[in-house]
C-alpha cells in the first residue's frame, strides 16, 4: 500500500470516497482537484478506488447484489500469457474477461484479443466448455467471424483464447454513426446472416447474438465475436453434457433470447433466426420488439414468451415522434410497413416451426425485399392470431363463422343444429360513407392526372402517394389539415378494399402530419389513432387495437369531457377491440356507457347510435339475450334506413345481423327475406366474390339447410367454397363452409362426398384451432353422420364420442351444443337398438333443450322425436305418439314442406299409429314420408328404403299383401 493506513485515515478515505461516488463527472473532477490540493495521496487513492469501483460495479448490480466478482482476477495488466502480454482490459463477456494483448516474443508483432476465463469459473464443467469453445472457434474460418488464433493455459491454470482483434464499433453504433439508411442496414445485416449461416452449416448455433457480439471494422466489415456459448448441435461429439447446455442459458442476454431459450427447450438454428430478428428489428426501428420490455429480466422474459411484437412500422412512429426528423421518420415507416413488417414478424414468431426455417431463408427474403421482389413470408392471418386467443379462452369466445351440422336420427330422421352465423360488426367510423366518396373522388383525380395510366389498372399506394403527393403538395401545401385529411381518406379507401398495408402507409403519414401541425392534444391526431386502431383490429391485432383505442379514448376525454359524441364513439371502438380480445363482459360495459352518452346527447337517430346498438346487440345475442338483441337491431335498421338509405353497405350489415339474430331465435321465416335483401345489396355494390358477399351467401345457405331445402343450398354453398379457395386469408371461413356443405350433401344422400367435405373442414379447423377446440365438434358430428349412413359404424361412433367429449370438456352444462352431441350419440345407439345406452343421453339432451330453448324450437322438436323413437323401440307406441306428434307440429310450422325432417317425423308418427292400429291415420303419414324421401334422395338411399320398409310393415299389419310386397321390394333397393 502506498499509504500507511489507520482507522482515522480510513475514515477520511471512506468520507472522501463516499462523497466522490455521489458526484457527476464534472463535479468529481473538481472535487478530486480540490482534494489533491489538500492531500494528494488521498486524492490518488480515491481515484484509484473509483477506477476499481467502476470496473466491478456490474457485480454489485448483478443478481441480488450477490458478492460476486470481488477478487484479484481482473487485475493483470502487463501479465504475460505465452507469447502475449496483456495491455488493457477490453470488457467482459458471459464467460470471461477480454484483454487487448500484444505479441511479445519478438517473432511477430501484432495486437490480439485475449479472453481469460472469469475467476470462479474454474470448474471442470467450465473447463470443458472452454475447450469446446476453442474447438468450435478453431473450426470456423469465415471473413465475418473473428478468428481464433491461439489458445493456452496460464501459469495459474487459467485457460485463455487468443483471438483476432476486431477494431471498430458495435453493429448498432456503427449504423447510427454512419446514419445508414434502411437498405444499407439490411445489406450490412445480410453479411452477419451469411456468417451465422456459415456456422449453421457446421452445426454451430451461436445462441447469444446481440449488437455487442458483432463488431464492424473501419472498412465496414461486420465480424461476429464470442461463440462463447455456442454448442455443437451434435453435442456428443465434444462430450458436452446436457448440464453444460442448460447452464449456458443463464449467461444469456435475455433481451435477445428466444422463447425456447427462456423455456429451456431445445436450441436449434431457429434460435439464431429469432435473435437475428430482434437484432434487425432494433437496427431498423431503434427499439426492441416488445412494448413492455426494459426493466427486470423476469419482465423481459415474460414479454418474450407472451407478448406479440409491435409491428416495426408502428414502432418507428412511436420512436421518431420525439426524435428524428419528421420526413425521414415518415419515410422509414413507409419502408417498414408491408414486407419488412412481415419479414421481421416472421423471424420473431414464438413457435420455432412458424419462424423462418433457416437464417438462409430469412436472408433470402431480405434480399428479395432489397431487389423489390415479393417476399416468401406470409403475414400472420387474422385467424391465426384469433386462434391463439381462442385457445386461451376456449369457452368465452364466439367465432364469427357460420356453419351448421345435421342431426341424425334413425335412417330417416334428420335435424338441424343451431350454429353460429357470420355476424358482422360495424366499422367504427361514423363518416365512412362520406369519406369513401371523398376518397374515391381523389383516387379518380390521381388517375386522371396521368393520361398514360390505363383505365382499371390498380395503383400501388406508393404510386398514388408519389403521383398524388406532388399535387397534394402544390394544391394543399399551405393546408396541412386538409392534406392530412386527404391522406387519411385515402387510407380508408384502401382499408375498405382490404389493402391494409397501403391503408397503414396513409394513416401513418396523416398521423405524422397531424402531430407536426397540431401536436398530440388535438382531435385530428386522436382521429388518426382511432383509424389505426380500427385497422389493427381488422388485421386481427386485437391487443394493439385495444391500446390504440384506449389512448384515443383517454385523449378525447381530456379534450372534450365525458359527454361528447367522440367519447361515445371511442367507448364503442374500445368495446369492439376488447370484445375481440376476448372480454365480452368488459365490452358490454363499455357499450352501455357509450349508449348512455348517445341517448343523453340527442334524441335524433344518428349513425353513432346505430353503431353502438349494433355492437351491443352482438354481445347480448351471444349471451342469450335474444329479444333485447333483436329489438336493438330493429332500431339499427330503422336508423340506417332513415340516415343512409337502403342502398348502402352499412344498411346491409344491419339486415344481415338482424337476420342472424332472428335465425338464432328460431324465426326462420323472418330471417330469410332479410338475408336475401342484404345479399342483393352487396351483390350490387361489391364484386361477386367479395368476402362480404360470400358471408351472406353462406348464411343464407345455412338457413336453407335448416329449413329443409338442401337442393337450393347445394349450388350456393358449392360456389361459395370455390370462391373461398381463392382467398387464402379466409381458411377459417372455408372450414365452416365445408362443414355446411357436408351437411347439404348428407341431406341429399351424397354421403361419401359429405364425409370428404367434413373431413377437410375438420383438418382446416384443427390447423387453425388445435385438437380440442369445441368448434371441431361440428365437422366431427358430420363425419359421424355421413359414416353412419354408409355403415361405417366404428368410424361413426368414434366421431360422435369425440365430438361429445370435446364439448363436455370445453363448454359448460347446460349448453345447446352439448345437448346436440348427447342427442346425436343417443340416436346413434337407438339406431343400433342399444336402448339402455341411448336413454340417459336422450333424456339429458331433452332436459337441456327444454331449459334452453323455446318450446317451438326445431332442436327441441328433435329431442321430442328422439324420445318418441325410444318409446317405439321399446314397444310402447302409446307413449311415443304425443311426443312425435309435437315434433311433427313444430317442424311443419318452422320448416319447408318438402323438408326431410318433416318426412322423418311423419314416418315415426305413422309407425306409432300403425302399431296402435290406427291405420287410417297412419297410412297417409307413411305415404307422405316415403314420397318426400323419394323426392329428396336417391331410391337406393337407406332413408328411402327405411321409409318403404315402414310402409311395407304397415301393409303387412293390415293384411294388404300386394302393397306390402311392392314396398318390400322398394325397401330392398328397387323403386316400385
Amino acid at each position: 500500500m502506498q499509504n500507511p493506513m489507520d482507522p482515522e485515515r480510513w475514515n477520511a478515505v471512506q468520507a472522501a470516497f463516499g462523497r466522490a461516488v455521489e458526484l457527476d463527472r464534472d463535479g468529481l473532477e473538481a472535487y478530486l482537484d480540490e482534494l489533491a490540493g489538500k492531500d494528494q495521496a488521498l486524492a490518488d487513492l480515491v481515484r484509484q478506488m473509483l477506477a476499481e469501483d467502476e470496473r466491478t460495479a456490474r457485480f454489485l448490480d448483478g443478481e441480488a447484489g450477490a458478492a460476486v466478482g470481488l477478487g484479484p482476477g481482473d487485475a493483470g495488466e502487463g501479465r504475460r500469457l505465452g507469447a502475449y502480454r496483456l495491455v488493457r482490459r477490453l470488457g467482459s463477456g458471459g464467460m470471461g474477461t477480454v484483454w487487448l494483448a500484444e505479441r511479445d516474443d519478438g517473432a511477430y508483432k501484432g495486437t490480439v484479443a485475449i479472453k481469460l476465463v472469469r475467476i470462479g469459473f474454474e470448474s471442470d464443467e467450465a473447463l470443458r466448455r472452454f475447450k469446446a469453445e476453442r474447438q468450435i472457434l478453431a473450426a470456423l474460418q469465415h471473413p465475418n467471424v473473428a478468428r481464433l488464433l491461439d489458445g493456452g493455459t496460464a501459469e495459474d491454470g487459467t485457460p485463455y483464447l487468443v483471438m483476432e482483434l476486431v477494431e471498430g464499433t458495435t453493429l448498432d453504433a456503427y449504423c447510427d454513426e454512419h446514419e445508414l439508411s434502411i437498405n444499407e442496414r439490411i445489406r450490412l445485416f445480410l453479411e452477419v446472416c451469411a456468417a451465422v449461416q456459415y456456422a449453421h452449416t457446421r452445426l454451430i448455433v451461436h445462441r447469444d447474438l446481440k449488437p455487442n457480439n458483432i463488431m464492424v471494422s473501419g472498412e465496414g466489415t461486420p465480424k461476429l465475436l464470442d461463440f462463447g456459448i455456442a454448442k455443437l448441435l451434435d453435442a456428443t461429439e465434444l462430450g458436452l453434457t446436457e448440464a453444460a447446455t442448460r447452464t449456458g442459458s443463464r449467461l444469456l442476454t435475455p433481451r435477445y433470447a428466444s422463447p425456447e431459450q427462456i423455456r429451456g427447450q431445445a436450441i436449434t438454428a431457429a434460435t439464431d433466426v429469432y435473435s437475428l430478428g430482434v437484432l434487425l428489428y432494433e437496427l431498423l426501428t431503434g427499439s426492441l420488439p416488445y412494448r413492455s420490455s426494459g426493466t427486470t429480466a423476469a419482465q423481459i422474459e415474460r414479454a418474450i414468451l407472451e407478448e406479440e411484437p409491435m409491428r416495426p412500422s408502428l414502432v418507428v412512429g412511436e420512436v421518431d415522434r420525439s426524435g428524428g426528423t419528421g420526413a425521414s421518420a415518415a419515410r422509414m415507416k413507409r419502408e417498414l410497413s408491408g414486407d419488412l413488417d412481415t419479414i421481421l414478424l416472421t423471424a420473431l414468431r414464438k413457435t420455432v416451426d412458424r419462424r423462418y426455417t433457416s437464417v438462409e431463408a430469412f436472408a433470402r427474403d431480405l434480399d428479395r425485399y432489397l431487389r423489390g421482389l415479393p417476399v416468401e413470408a406470409q403475414p400472420d392471418t387474422w385467424q391465426y392470431r384469433t386462434q391463439k386467443f381462442v385457445r386461451r379462452n376456449r369457452t368465452g369466445v364466439g367465432l364469427a363463422a357460420g356453419f351448421v351440422v345435421l342431426l341424425a336420427g334413425s335412417a330417416v330422421a334428420l335435424g338441424v343444429q343451431a350454429a353460429r352465423i357470420t355476424r358482422e360488426r360495424d366499422t367504427a367510423e361514423q363518416e365512412r360513407a362520406k369519406a369513401e366518396q371523398v376518397s374515391e373522388f381523389l383516387v379518380d383525380v390521381f388517375e386522371a392526372s396521368d393520361p398514360n395510366e390505363a383505365q382499371g389498372v390498380e395503383l400501388t399506394a406508393g404510386e398514388i402517394l408519389s403521383r398524388g403527393g406532388a399535387r397534394i403538395q402544390s394544391e394543399l401545401g399551405a393546408q396541412p389539415a386538409v392534406r392530412a385529411q386527404v391522406m387519411d381518406a385515402i387510407g380508408r379507401v384502401y382499408q375498405t378494399l382490404g389493402e391494409y398495408d397501403s391503408a397503414e402507409v396513409f394513416f401513418l403519414a396523416s398521423r405524422d402530419l397531424r402531430i407536426e401541425s397540431f401536436g398530440q392534444n388535438h382531435a385530428d391526431y386522436l382521429k388518426s389513432l382511432v383509424h389505426l386502431g380500427t385497422l389493427e383490429r381488422e388485421r386481427g391485432n386485437f391487443d394493439s387495437a385495444v391500446v390504440l383505442q384506449g389512448l384515443a379514448l383517454e385523449g378525447r376525454r381530456q379534450l372534450h369531457g365525458e359527454r361528447h359524441p367522440d367519447v361515445a364513439e371511442s367507448l364503442s371502438n374500445l368495446g369492439l377491440a376488447t370484445r375481440d380480445a376476448g372480454d365480452a363482459a368488459a365490452a358490454e360495459t363499455l357499450y352501455v356507457r357509450s349508449l348512455d352518452i348517445r341517448r343523453a346527447l340527442s334524441d335524433e337517430p344518428n349513425e353513432g347510435l346505430a353503431v353502438v346498438l349494433n355492437n351491443l346487440s352482438g354481445v347480448l345475442d351471444d349471451r342469450g339475450a335474444r329479444d333485447s338483441a333483436i329489438a336493438m337491431l330493429e332500431e339499427v335498421r330503422e336508423i340506417r334506413s332513415g340516415t343512409l338509405g337502403e342502398d348502402h353497405l352499412d344498411y346491409s350489415i344491419a339486415l344481415n345481423n338482424l337476420a342472424t339474430a332472428h335465425e338464432n331465435a328460431g324465426h326462420y321465416d323472418l330471417a330469410e327475406p332479410l338475408y336475401r335483401q342484404a345479399l342483393e345489396t352487396r351483390e350490387r355494390l361489391l364484386s361477386d366474390e367479395h368476402p362480404s358477399v360470400l358471408n351472406v351467401r353462406n348464411n343464407l345457405g345455412v338457413l336453407l339447410i335448416r329449413t329443409g331445402r338442401p337442393a337450393e343450398a347445394e349450388p350456393m354453398l358449392r360456389a361459395v367454397i370455390e370462391a373461398r379457395r381463392g382467398q387464402p386469408d379466409k381458411r377459417f371461413e372455408l372450414a365452416g363452409e365445408l362443414n355446411n356443405f357436408g351437411a347439404v350433401l348428407v341431406r341429399i344422400g351424397r354421403y361419401e362426398e359429405a364425409a370428404a367435405s367434413y373431413t377437410e373442414s375438420l383438418e382446416l379447423f384443427e390447423e387453425e384451432l388445435g385438437s380440442m377446440h369445441p368448434t371441431l365438434a361440428y365437422p366431427l358430428s358430420g363425419i359421424g353422420l355421413a359414416n353412419s349412413r354408409i355403415a361405417r359404424e366404428d368410424v361413426a361412433e368414434d366421431a360422435f364420442r369425440r365430438a361429445l367429449e370435446i364439448r363436455e370438456t370445453a363448454l359448460e352444462r347446460p349448453h345447446p351444443q352439448i345437448a346436440f352431441s348427447l342427442d346425436l350419440l343417443g340416436t346413434y345407439y337407438l339406431q343400433r337398438q342399444l336402448f339402455s345406452d341411448a336413454e340417459p343421453l336422450l333424456v339429458a339432451a331433452l332436459e337441456m333443450r327444454r331449459e334452453l330453448l323455446d318450446d317451438d324450437h326445431p332442436e327441441y322438436a328433435k329431442s321430442l322425436e328422439s324420445m318418441g323413437r325410444l318409446w317405439l323401440g321399446r314397444g310402447d307406441p302409446a307413449s311415443a305418439e304425443p311426443l312425435l306428434r309435437d315434433a311433427l307440429r313444430i317442424r311443419e310450422a318452422k320448416l319447408d314442406a318438402a323438408s326431410i325432417d318433416i318426412a322423418a317425423a311423419r314416418g315415426h308418427l305413422g309407425r306409432a299409429l300403425s302399431e296402435l292400429s290406427r291405420a287410417d291415420e297412419a297410412e297417409p303419414l307413411l305415404t307422405q314420408s316415403y314420397e318426400s324421401y323419394r323426392a329428396a334422395l336417391d331410391p337406393s338411399d337407406g332413408a328411402v328404403r327405411t321409409a318403404a320398409e315402414l310402409l311395407a310393415t304397415h301393409y303387412e299389419r293390415i293384411g294388404d299383401e300386394a302393397r306390402a310386397r311392392e314396398y318390400r321390394r322398394a325397401a330392398e333397393g328397387s323403386a316400385p
Binding site: 478506488m49 469501483d53 450477490a66 470481488l70 484479484p72 487485475a75 502487463g78 470462479g120
Partner: protein, 198 residues
Amino acid sequence: MNAMSSDDPPPGDVTQLLGRLRDGPERVVDELFPLVYDELRALAQARLRGERPDHTLNATALAHEAYLKLVDQTRANWQNRAHFFAIAARAMRRILVDYAKARNAAKRGGGAPLATFDEASGPRTSGPGELLELDEALTRLEAVAPRQARVVEYRFFVGLKDKEIAEALGVSVPTVRLDWRTARAWLGVALDDSSPGR
C-alpha cells in the same frame, strides 16, 4: 427480546445461545463459533468427499444447511438468523482459507484442486493464491476498519443481504452499503498492488 428461559440451556444448543445475543454478543459469538465452524467444515468435507469429486462448493448453500441443522426453526427469528450467518461468515472464511492453503500445497505437489465455487452465489476466486491474497488484504482492512471488514465477510462469504448485515452489526442499511462499496474498492486497489507485474 428477553431471551432466556430460567432454565440453563443445554450445552451446544445453538438456538438458545442465539437467543442470548442481545445481552452479550461477544461472549455468545465466542461460544457459538466453534459449533458453527465444526458444522460447516463437516458439511463441506462431506460434500467434497462425496461420490462426485468435481462437485462445486456453494458457500451460501452450506451456511444455510448448517443453519437449518443447528438452529431450531421454531424458536429462531430473523435477527437470530442474521447473527448466525455473521458467525457463519467468519467460519466460512476460515474454512475456505484452509482449503486454499491445502489446495496450494496440493498444487505444488501436482494434486487436483479441492474445491471450487458455484459461480452465482459464492465467492469467485480463480485460484487458491488469490483467495489467500484476499484473506490477507481483508485482514489488513480489519486492522483499520473492522466494521467494513465484517461487511465484506458477511456479504462475500455467506451472501448476507444488506438488511441482515445491518442487523448483525447494529448499523443502518445505507451505512452497510457505503462500507461495502468503499471496502470493495479499497480491496481492489490493495489486490492490484500486490498482483504480479506491478
